[in-house]
Structure formats: structure tokens, C-alpha cells
Amino acid sequence: MPELLDKIDDLIEALEELRLHVGQADLHVGNHRVNSQLYFTLANVCLRNRVALLYGGMGANKTTLVNLLGSAFMGLAFDQVENLMITGHPEQTEEKIVGFIDPRQWSCPSPSSEDETIEVLWTPWAKSSWKVINEINRFPSGKQNLFLELLQKRKVSYAGNTLELGDTCYFATMNPDFSSTYPLDEALLDRISVSVPATQPDFLSSLALRDREKEAWELADSLPKFEPHEFERLPSLAGEVSLDGQVELSIISLIRDFTLCERAPANDKTQLSGGAKPSRGLCSECHYFNNPEVCCWQIDEGLSDRVRQDLRLYTRALAYLLRMADSDTKIEVLRAVAPYVIWHRVTPNRTLLDRPPYYGARKLDYVRDLVEKSINRTLNERGEMNMIFARAVDGEISLREAIEDLSEYDDPIARLDYVRALERMA
């Protein structure tokens, strides 16, 4: 449906013409230079039951952008979209967010209420298929647990009642750590599919913003509106983009590179807890420790299977938006997408950020370099060992011969995944 892509292009053009600041063109995908804040938000519109988090200082147009897109895709006025948003603060409760028990059922019982089911009044947010959680890190830590159940789910439960949501677009925004914010729980962060930094306008953007005559809510009226069937069609269009073997293999290897740990239970870094972390001395004198080519010791956390799903989905969605669905360079899309899917889920070793080339607070750049290393290694250096493993699994060579050959590879995937898998098969 190229006309739908044309309409999305019109929307992007309209946002530019209306001088809405959406940051610089900082996302490099092959020859494309696009804006990460805008394109990841649009990619999330093309998916369902995934959460895109816009992260940045105040006034970076995070909420405005999401609400403007909500207005365009849901065909609603800006005010109506704003009403579908919940904002984090310590007094937020499940009753305010999801729904509450209808008190009228006890004062004026209706004949239908004899079946003893409790009637619940669902909030507009709960019923909407466009859900925005504004300032998510202003929810106290305990209340953040509520979202563990809500996010990525197709239904909401309250007081024994279940509301079928169907497919939903989730967005969240948050500021960096301020005096009234709370740290986000690791499990909640894992449910956030992609996290995109939202930056302040640079000099040229500030100049362009001078020419903006309309307020944000007025801009919504000037944007092209999508029909409901068009909005609903987007996930299937993005889903039609096929991922080649190169991308699939790189995704799996990338996750294993981050997750494998020789010293963790079942070689799985997601099993680590407490003080047993690479940054707290777990890797001291380990075979791979201090080897800059290996990721395992540089990051405290392993990656869950959600990351694999997110990498596949966002690679497809971005390839669709950039009209790269038929391109044989979709690996470039994965290179661009992966850092944004991973960086908020992991904690790099602090000491490494303070070493040359001095990443410091630029955690995303650090993760981008690790991703780049892993993908390059998979594509350029792991070919032979992958072929040995594949031939052994397919029965073309003996398991013993393959184990002997693979034992010579000083690669975590060969030693901890391949050899052990073949040993189990033997």
C-alpha cells in the first residue's frame, strides 16, 4: 500500500513545515539520515503492543510529538488525545488509571445485576488503543508495578472484570533523574521496547522555531488525518517486510553476545543478582575479561527474549517506513535500530565509560559501538564456526569432529553455546 507510505511522508513533511522541533537527523540507516525521535515514534505506530519511550529533558517536545501523531492517526482533536494520556505522580492509583467499580449498581440495582458480576467503569485511557504514559518515572516505584501487567497486554483486568483492548499503541515519556522522579524497575525497562533520546533544538532549529506561528494544539488541525482502517492496516504492512538470514543471525548472535557468561548459572547473565555482576568483580581473571572484542564482561545485564522480538519488529517497521522493504541491506536497519532497543536495558561498566574514547554519559554511543562490534564479528569472523556448527547439527559431519574443531575457537558463542549443544546431542 504505497499510498499509505505517501501519507506518512506527507505527515512528516507537514510536521517539518509546521516547524515542530523533533531533534536533528541523528539516525543513520544506510544512505538515509533521519530523525530518531520522529522515526522511532512512527515505527511504534506501525506496531502494536510495543512501548516506545521518549527520554529527555523538559521542553524537548516528547509529549507534544506523541499527542500530535495520536491526533493524526486516531483522527481526534489534540485535546481529545491529551485526555487519553495519564501522567505520573505519587497520587496516581489503579482506580484513576484503569477504572473503578460503578457505585450506582448498589444504589439502583438493575435486573441485569442479579448475576452478581461487579460492574466497572473503565477510564478513557484503558479503553483507548492509543495509550500514552506521560512522565512514567514520576510514578513511585511500587506503582510502577502496575504497568508490568498493563504494558504489551491485549486486555486489562480490574475487580474481576476484564476489558479486551485488542491491539494497542503504547508510548511513554520520561525526564532524566530529577528531584521528584523515581528509578525505573529493571523488569519495567525490559518491557519498554525502544528508548529514544529527545534533545533540545540546536541553533538552526531554534532559528526555524522563531517562524512557528501556531501553538502545538493548533498544529494538529493542519496535519493529515488517517482513517481508522489505515491505522489498523499499518502493522500488517510492516509485518510483510521479510528479514533475511543475515539479519536473523545477527540478532540471535547479538543477544547471545550480551547474555552469555561463563560464570553465571546456565551461562545466562539474566540469572545474576545482587553483588554477582561483572562490574563488581565477577569477571576477575575470567578468560574473556579485559578483551575489548568481547561484550560479556562489559555489561552487567543479559538480554531477554523480548529484545529479540523487539529487534525484529522495529527493524521491519523502520525498513517499511524508509522504503527499504525490498532492499538487501536490511542489516543496516538492524545496526541503526539495535542500540535504541538495548541501551536502556543494560548497565555498562562505569569504569569503561571513563576510559578512552571517554563515553562518559553517552551510554547510547557506547552500546552502539558494542552492537557494531557484535554484528561485524558475526558477519565477518564467525562464518566458519557457524558453518561447522550447522553442518554438525544437520549431520553432515560427526559431532565429535565438530566439537574438536569448535573447541579451537576462542569465541563465547562457540564455547558456551555450540560446543555444549553438540555435547548434549552426542
Binding site: Q246, N291, E293, R355, G383, E384, N386, A390
Partner: protein, 273 residues
Amino acid sequence: MKLKGFMDDAYGGKVRRKKRLEKRSGDFVLGFEDFVQRLGEKPSRKDVEELAPSDEKHLLSLVTSATPENNKRDQKTWGYLSGLAAERSPEPLILPARDFAGLGMKSGMLILDAKSKDQALSPPSHVGEGMTGGRILVRGGAGHYLGQVMEGGGIVADSCEDYAFRNMKGGWGVVKGNAQNYLGVGNFGGKILVKGKAGLRTGWLMHGGRIRVNGNVGYYLGLMMSGGKISIGGRSGGKAGWRMKGGTIIAQGYGPNVGAGKVGGKIFRRTAD
């Protein structure tokens, strides 16, 4: 599809051959804590030198970012590293004045800032211990054991506490102010100049080398010394040269019992010009 088919699809039939994970070149050290953990209980200079980053910038960053715990293993490790950093630095290296700074240093110039706001309350001890070359300048007072067992090089400090230049074998030390007790105990060589006063037992058990104190010194000057030369610009306390076996003491005046039990050596009184 078989797994080989999947891999063929991924690599398009172009598999690079025989590429192994490259071994690290040189040791990559995370931080001072990590560095200390990888050494034995009693690290020698050789151990530290082998493990220290070969890159000068990394070494310097390791030394400057370190916060050694209050134990000898950490302190000595930092001391060795500070000496190595000074040796490799083309310019004088300025570091906070910590215990064991310049330990075993062979060359280079180390400036220890003992007057900075961040400086610990007690002055740094064991500065320049066992050094064989180079220069150390302590901006401020040094603590105990300044230049202990040093064999070469030179140290300048504003003042020092007990046991300065103990068992010294070579090199030189200058104290611009006062030295406390036991200056130059058991020395075999080297030269010491104290521009102010010195405390008790200066040159105790001295075998060789020279000590010059411009001011007065306390009791037991040159106690049981067997060689070397001690020159005092002012007066000495009592029992100077007690049980002395050799060497020379010169001072402007002496307290009671000078040369008591003396079996060798010479004691002179400097006459006024």
C-alpha cells in the same frame, strides 16, 4: 530449512576462513581496585611493572584516579605506580602526597602536593622509599620514613618526621625546615642536609655517608656510629658520640657526657671564626 541452509543464506556463500578471536594486546585494566585485586598479597615492583598499562596516558589515569585503601598492599601498589608514572612522564609529574609515593622510583621527577585542600591530615610517610634515581619534591612536610633505604636520586621536603633517610645507601636528601628524631639511622652512604633543627639520636648506628644539620640536635648524636661524618651547625644535646666506634662528629658545642664509652672515631668542637 536445515541449519546449514540458514547459515548459507546469512553468509551468501562467502565465509571468511580461519579468523579467530584476537587476543588482547597488553593488559586492559579497569581501575585501581581491579589492578590491586590482580596482584598478590605482597606485590613487588616487578609484579606491578608487569601488570601496569604500557600506555603512558592509561598509567597516569590509573594513578590519578586511584583511592588506595588504608592498607599496605594498596598503598605500596599505588607507590610503585606513582614511581612508574614519574619514570615514563616526560615532564615533572604532580601527584597528591600519599604514603609510599615514589616507592622504588628509578628516574623522573615527582612533585608531591602536601599542601592541597584534599590532602589527608597526616603527612605522607615512606615517601621515596627504596628509590634508586630521579627526584622527589614534597611541597609541604613529609611524614615518617622519608627516603628510607634509598640508594640514589634526591628528595627535597619542607620538614620530616621520625626515621627520615633510615638505612640510606646513596643519593641525597634535603629538609628545608626541621627534622624530628632518628634522622639517618644505620646509614651506609648518601648525603643528608637539614637546614633547621633535628631531634634525638641523629646518625644512630651510622656506618657511612654524611649528615649536616644547620641548627641544634638532641641527645645521643651519633649514638654507636661506626663511620661517616656528622656536622652540626649548632649545639648537640648530651651523650653525643656515646659508645661511638668510628666516624667523625663536629658541632659548635655539646651537652654533658659527650663521648661517653667511645672506643673509636673523632669528636670535634667547632671554634668560632
